[in-house]
Assembly symmetry: C2
Homo-oligomer: 168 residues x 2
Amino acid sequence: MSEPQPTIREHDLNGTTYTIGELAKEFDVTTRAIRFYEDEGLLSPVRIGSKRLYRRRDRARLKLILRGKRLGFTLAEIRETFNLYDEAHGESQQLRYYLSVLEEKRQHLIRQRADLEETLRELDQSYAHCEQLLAQQEQRKAKDQNAAARRPTRRDPTAATQQDSVAN
Amino acid sequence: MSEPQPTIREHDLNGTTYTIGELAKEFDVTTRAIRFYEDEGLLSPVRIGSKRLYRRRDRARLKLILRGKRLGFTLAEIRETFNLYDEAHGESQQLRYYLSVLEEKRQHLIRQRADLEETLRELDQSYAHCEQLLAQQEQRKAKDQNAAARRPTRRDPTAATQQDSVAN
DNA sequence: GTTACCGTTTACGTCTACGTCAACTATTTT
DNA sequence: AAAATAGTTGACGTAGACGTAAACGGTAAC
């Protein structure tokens, strides 16, 4: 049995670390993608020799990247957010600008939420309508079957079962 | 004054119609994009001579296309939705399949909504934190000002007002 | 020692969603 | 008649986000 230790080496950076493969598996992205995010300035893992080592902060960022992508943000936008966040520590000038950017982002998200809710409403309608159509079909099918039952011919009694498979 | 009539010609298709330019202006997209959506099979305007004429259905679809895009769907996905919708009229087999696709889509949207809400929450936190930092800055600034006021020099008495504008 | 596995760099390929000319037609305005 | 305006069909270009293949290094397992 191999030790469950996370194979950290090299006077151990204190704290948990991850290899690129671990992160890729955990978040279901390719290592290629993760390296690409680094090229684009979104991640900055530590190097141990030539290998990359990712720390809690990197993992958190990767999570944010992927969530951002699911919401349709470009990598450039995500990078901008990171940079802003990193730089918004000091002067009221900076802080005010940051606030305005956040406000803009909020507007975007709220619009998107409206789009989303509307789409969900329409989807529910389609769903209901579809179920209604299906119910009608079932009724008709049942009626046909009854009609067949009321005038039993000498045909094979499994005919009804066969008829079910006609919809195949 | 030109007549407000929508310049329809050619034994008039009954109902409202739009030129490509009108739609482009209304939805703030380029005509190039609209033509591209047609190439991709998402729109099918009527032709009058060589010109395209868009009807209510096309307009509705364009709206859906753009909303879909804002939610991060690809044109291929949007086209699939349209096709499914168009073909889901008949057999229970088809209807059941359509229902399953709708269910899948719902899952996707719900996940996206969760992402969105979480992002909005974090954004609000950032916003609040940022405002707090700003308030601290203001306080410090005010204190500095008071300190200056408690040992009044022979400077211009409007100094305080001027200092307000420093935050500009 | 060699096979397997994980990781690295470099570089070209690909798919999506258009942008950007160019060259032409039809209509309206001056 | 000339110019402006709106539309049309190619055809090529491009930005973003990786995929894919080549060629190599390190280490653990057999």
